[in-house]
């Protein structure tokens, strides 16, 4: 029972912390973000397994985490408002080529970050080639180019 309680507590704690942290936390923009993600996973390991390094404990913890994740997914699908609380919603940053300043300010984003994403995913050179830019639930930025760009 210990395994299930620990895993459940850690799952909920991580969910809450990352929701508070915001969409762009750990979106792995830089190498440092990636390293931070690894360190966080290390920090949870000891709490999950405690001093028990048996196969049984490991399997129980993994099973609990996967089951909780499925339940959260199901509840988010079945009750969309709950899904909103758990996962958040996508936020439009650039609409029809027009930069939405207040949205960018809320998420502490600047145009440079959107352009970086535009360069790496779409090969876009400048901001006037962007039709829509959306901050997805995952923290990644999706960029949709204008159809008639050369």
């Amino acid at each position: 029972m210990d395994a299930v309680l620990r895993a459940a507590a850690i799952y909920v704690a991580l969910l809450v912390i990352f929701r508070i942290g915001g969409k762009r936390t750990l979106s792995q923009v830089t190498t440092f973000d990636f390293v931070l993600l690894l360190i966080i996973s290390e920090a949870t390991q000891q709490a999950l397994l405690g001093m028990d390094s048996s196969i049984t404990m490991a399997v129980l913890v993994i099973l609990t985490l996967v089951a909780l994740d499925r339940v959260a997914d199901y509840l988010g699908w079945r009750f969309p408002r709950l899904g909103l609380v758990i996962d958040g919603a996508p936020v439009v940053l650039i609409e029809r080529g027009r930069l939405l300043e207040d949205r960018m300010r809320q998420y502490q984003l600047d145009l440079e970050q959107v352009l970086q994403e535009a360069r790496s995913s779409q090969g876009i050179r400048s901001a006037d080639e962007i039709d829509y830019a959306i901050l997805e639930r995952s923290g990644a930025i999706s960029v949709i180019p204008k159809r008639d760009r050369r």
Partner: protein, 166 residues
């Protein structure tokens, strides 16, 4: 070129008042996280100024951490005096339940003996001047309120309470 297609709920979430609500919720979350961090630095989860407490009783003074964590490192610092009738030996008594939950890692200085008494354990330390400063490293195996009694055998013990976070 076609309009961006968003789901029903996603479209509603773009409205300014929804955005503001989300922003305020975010700030509230940050405030709570900040409070937790400040409380931790102050010692409310252990090892900080708000955590150390002291208690004293006949022939004994205790310094201990009010807040600690399960399987975390903590210590009890005791200043014990010997009975006037036997100044060469300092004796320390811990209640049985407390000793078992404390999960003692190390006692500095090493006691001469651990003796199981009626309702606790007695540690004896040889002493040159009738006093002993004892440092007990513990790693509590308990969650929640932990009540303990520490004292000198034959005298009234001191009751302390600690809170162990899971």
């Amino acid at each position: 070129m076609s309009e961006l297609q968003l789901g029903e709920q996603e479209r509603r979430e773009q409205e300014p008042d929804r955005r503001r609500r989300a922003y305020i919720a975010q700030l509230a979350g940050w405030a709570v996280a900040g409070l937790i961090l400040v409380a931790t630095v102050a010692g409310l989860t252990g090892s900080g100024p708000l955590s150390w407490a002291s208690a004293s009783g006949p022939l004994i003074e205790i310094e201990y951490e009010r807040f600690t964590r399960r399987f975390g490192d903590s210590s009890l610092r005791l200043a014990v005096r010997a009975e006037p009738s036997d100044p060469g030996t300092v004796r320390l008594w811990l209640s049985a339940e407390y000793a078992s939950k404390l999960n003692v890692q190390q006692v500095m200085p090493q006691p001469d003996s651990w003796t199981v008494a009626r309702d606790g354990v007695v540690l004896t330390f040889p002493s040159a001047d009738g006093t002993a400063k004892v440092d007990i490293q513990v790693s509590p195996d308990h969650i929640g309120l932990l009540r303990g009694e520490i004292g000198v055998p034959g005298r009234a013990p001191v009751g302390i309470w600690q809170f162990v976070y899971p």
